[in-house]
């Protein structure tokens, strides 16, 4: 993606990163899904941009599939889940917002630190974006840790995946479209299964709070 303006890329990277941060801040499940859609859209845009220099029909299919899964199907499932179980506000965290933000800041500092410079060799277009993408990965992981809601965890994981894809794009690590398709298909299945499970869990436990599941220990 060397032909693209650094500035443009940084904007996308910031969008991806910011939506991950906002995922931490939001109190509503619906807005979380929306934030995910924003993030996915940014990824999709990046994908499309990157496809300009090596056009192939299969790639188009792959991109379309990705867009479909990430922007439409996954949110659709999530919305369905929210609708069915009236889950609009069921957001519960371990750390309160300020502390969460501090942790995020710490993670951000971490990605700025020296050890990360090794990854800079990957950067075909400036390591700023890479660092942001990596920060997204970590912050999304932190989301899965911090949130007690099953839905938030799922979104966290998907956001993590977005972060990785973004990282790959910024580092110029595109895979062949066939593989891209496979991965997308995988994610689709994952989203379906996870949604079904979330729904089943709601039926068994009466909420999507994962901390209710603590029978298995020791």
């Amino acid at each position: 993606m060397a032909h693209l303006n650094q500035q443009t890329l940084l904007v996308f990277a910031t969008i991806i990163f910011a939506s991950a941060v906002f995922l931490h801040l939001t109190r509503k499940n619906t807005s979380a899904v929306r934030l995910y859609m924003v993030q996915s859209s940014a990824i999709a845009a990046l994908l499309i941009l990157s496809s300009f220099d090596r056009f192939s029909p299969l790639l188009i299919v792959a991109i379309v599939a990705t867009v479909a899964v990430k922007i439409f199907i996954a949110p659709y499932f999530f919305y369905g889940l929210i609708r069915r179980h009236q889950l609009k506000f069921s957001v519960n965290t371990y750390l309160n917002t300020p502390v969460s933000l501090m942790v995020i800041a710490a993670l951000l500092v971490l990605t700025r630190s020296d050890f990360f410079s090794a990854l800079a060799v990957l950067a075909t277009s400036g390591d700023k974006m890479l660092r942001l993408a990596f920060a997204t990965v970590l912050i999304s992981l932190f989301l899965a840790i911090n949130r007690k809601g099953a839905l938030s965890q799922m979104i966290g994981i998907l956001s993590l995946e977005n972060g990785i894809v973004a990282f790959a794009l910024f580092a110029g690590l595109e895979q062949s479209p066939g593989l891209q398709l496979g991965i997308t298909f995988n994610i689709l299945i994952w989203v379906i299964i996870a949604t079904v499970f979330a729904s089943m869990i709601f039926r068994k436990f009466g909420s999507l709070d994962v901390t209710a599941m603590k029978k298995l220990k020791g």
């Binding site: 371990y94 971490l110 630190s113 020296d114 050890f115 090794a118 970590l138 992981l141 932190f142 899965a144 840790i145 911090n146 949130r147 007690k148 965890q153 994962v210 901390t211 599941m213 603590k214 029978k215 298995l216 220990k217 020791g218």
Partner: protein, 669 residues
């Protein structure tokens, strides 16, 4: 021979539907196998050839290498001998189990047990050795828990198995160190390559081998499994375990300290002496306080292992000074006592088995008067008791004498610190002898003499023919080994001299009238002379007295008891018998005694029933094993908290691991 045992093992397993057939098949093949083993090892021992079998395996490092050198052949002979007689005993005695437990399973593990012991003492590849060593533990474990509907057996078995496994861990460590030093697991190669090892390594090997094999041998404080495991097994198994199996630990100590590891350090021998002294003295004291016949015998095994270690320790001290002749003397003493203990302990366990079979109890307080009901068993037990109490002219005396002599030489040879340890070892050996005699007066007296103390004892009957035959064989062996100890010693001296570290050492002269002379006449004794002397004197006295008093009549009457009627309750009990000695040794034994008195009325002036219960605090449990177990449980509890059930925590672990490793990487670069 292996085939015979294998056939015995699997045949018994196949025949397990039919108790009788399984018994016959399993034990007869065991007899045949151990008979062959006896001939084979005897031949190897006497001819001095060293048959070697090596079969390569498909696994790296492992080869099935068997070597019948002198030491192996000697131990093999002991095993075969005891196994032979125990099998004869078993043929007659396992009938109790018909219909109760599977005879086939017993036969299977019995045969596996024997054959694994034989392989243990002949294996010359560390890996192969470890395998058969563990198989031996495994087979004996299943024999210990054979009476599996008894909770005590299961508990004993578990303790036994865990201790064995712990021991094996140390043994593995010892071998791993040797492997590290020499890059080989073949004994021959290790011996060749280990010479240049650093002192630290050698000491580490010494310590871990000591712990590892010490567990098997039952040295204090690693003995805790022994008093519960030996009694739990059927009696012929106890005989084998106590008489033979624990000696495999001794065998390996000899093998490693005298054959493989060259250049012993002084403190090794001294450590063995101290452990030996402790084990022998404490073992016999614990035995004194025991009222379970088989447990009592088991504690005596600890005592005797202690005596063997005294011999071994002195040999190691001598060897560290390069005094090979003296070292060979100590080693020969240890070997002799090993063999003797195998015979008399086997006999005693078999006798105990016969008694238990007759009375259906192991509580010594319930016996009494059995000498009339089971005269032959009583006689054999008496022979065994005398031998274990080191009374001349039986074999136990000679090996203790030899051990004494080895220790005496130590007092003569060394400077103050070493000397004091030797003196104290002598003292402990002397006390041990006396206490063992006291203990066996109790064991034999309370069991066989006076009146039956319970219904069961009054209804006991003599055991079957074959068990008696086995016991007779062992008793004969005890007398024979005692009387012909000179000749035996000559063979043992060559065994001791065949060790790599003691090459060509001369130990003893066997001179005119089979008298044995140690250290150029420092000590001389003749077992045949003692034997003949005592017998001749006894016969002469009997003849003379009966000639003198042939007109005098002998009447029988009730025992005088100050005019009151005598009941068995008035006889001395085992508790009472040993109580004074235990009270004296309360500093080490920590006895507890509870006195319960029931009164006729509330006034507490007229006691109706008084019960005194004495027992010992198990200081090893309290101070070593229980804290260890508690600590483990506490740590385990902490580790359980890792699996808290909270999925967020689980993800956090992954996250932290990731961050941690990345930081680690940062630090590295």
């Amino acid at each position: 021979m292996l085939a015979m045992f294998a056939a015995g093992a699997f045949g018994a397993l196949l025949l397990q539907q039919n108790d009788r057939a399984a018994n016959l098949w399993g034990n007869c093949l065991a007899i045949a196998g151990s008979g062959t083993g006896l001939i084979f090892s005897g031949a190897a021992l006497l001819r001095g050839t060293i048959p070697v079998f090596v079969i390569d395996s498909s696994f790296p490092l492992l080869s099935l290498s068997l070597r019948f050198d002198q030491l192996s052949a000697f131990f093999m002979m002991i095993i075969s001998l005891v196994a032979l007689l125990c099998s004869v005993y078993a043929l007659g005695s396992v009938r109790h189990y018909y219909g109760k437990y599977s005879i086939g399973v017993l036969g299977f593990f019995y045969n596996v047990f024997i054959v694994s012991m034989m392989l243990v003492v002949t294996a010359h590849n560390a890996l192969f050795f470890l395998i058969v060593w563990e198989v031996m533990s495994l087979a004996s474990y299943f024999l210990v828990i054979y009476e599996r509907r008894e909770t005590a057996s299961i508990r004993a078995g578990s303790l036994y198995f865990i201790m064995m496994h712990a021991g094996t861990a140390f043994i593995i460590f010892a071998f791993l160190l040797m492997y590290r030093l020499t890059g080989s697991v073949e004994f021959e190669a290790i011996r060749g390559g280990i010479g240049a090892a650093s002192p630290l390594m050698k000491n580490a090997i010494f310590i871990s081998a000591l712990i590892g094999f010490g567990v098997k041998a039952g040295i204090i404080p690693l003995h805790v499994w022994l008093p519960s495991a030996h009694p739990a097994a059927p009696s012929h198994i106890s005989a084998l375990m106590s008489g033979v199996m624990i000696k495999t630990g001794i065998y390996m100590m000899i093998r490693i300290y005298f054959d493989i590891l060259s250049g012993a350090y002084l403190w090794w021998g001294l450590a063995l002496l101290v452990i030996g002294a402790m084990s022998s003295l404490l073992g016999v004291l614990y035995a004194l306080s025991e009222h379970d016949l088989k447990r009592l015998l088991a504690y005596h095994s600890i005592e005797n292992i202690g005596i063997i270690l005294l011999g071994l320790g002195s040999a190691l001290v001598f060897s560290s000074f390069g005094l090979n002749t003296l070292a060979a003397l100590g080693l020969a003493a240890a070997l002799f006592h090993t063999m003797n203990h195998a015979t008399f302990k086997a006999l005693l366990f078999l006798g105990a088995g016969a008694v238990i079979a007759g009375t259906h109890t192991r509580n010594i307080e319930k016996y009494g008067g059995l000498i009339r009901l089971m005269p032959q068993t009583a006689f054999f037990f008496l022979v065994g008791s005398m031998a274990i109490s080191a009374l001349p002219p039986l074999n136990g005396f000679f090996s203790e004498w030899l051990t004494f002599q080895a220790l005496f030489q130590g007092v003569l040879a060394f400077d103050v610190v070493t000397k004091i340890i030797f003196i104290l070892s002598i003292g402990s050996l002397a006390f041990t002898g006396g206490l063992a005699a006291a203990c066996f007066v109790k064991a034999f007296g309370i069991t066989f003499l006076a009146r039956p103390r319970s219904e069961q004892a009054a209804q006991a009957s003599e055991t079957a023919m074959l068990p008696r035959l086995a016991m007779a064989g062992l008793a004969l062996l005890i007398v024979g080994l005692g009387v012909f100890s000179g000749m035996v010693l000559r063979t043992l001296a060559t065994v001791a001299g065949s060790m790599a570290n003691l090459q060509g050492a001369e130990t003893a002269d066997v001179a005119q009238f089979k008298s044995v002379s140690i250290q150029n006449g420092f000590a001389v004794t003749s077992m045949p002379a003692i034997f003949i002397g005592v017998i001749a004197a006894a016969v002469a006295v009997t003849v003379a007295v009966s000639l003198l008093t042939r007109k005098r009549k002998t009447a029988t009457g009730p025992t005088w008891n100050c005019g009151s009627d005598l009941t068995p309750r008035m006889e001395i009990t085992a508790t009472g018998f040993s109580r004074s000695l235990i009270t004296i040794a309360r500093g080490v034994l920590r006895p507890s005694s509870e006195t319960e008195i029931e009164y006729h009325d509330a006034s507490s002036y007229f006691p109706r029933v008084g019960t005194v219960t004495t027992s010992l605090h198990d200081i090893y449990q309290t101070f070593i094993y229980k804290p260890l177990r508690d600590l483990t449980t506490i740590i385990a509890g902490q580790f359980t908290k890792v699996q808290s059930g909270n999925i967020n925590a689980y993800i956090l672990y992954i996250f932290l691991t990731l961050i941690g490793l990345l930081f680690f990487l940062d630090l590295q670069s």
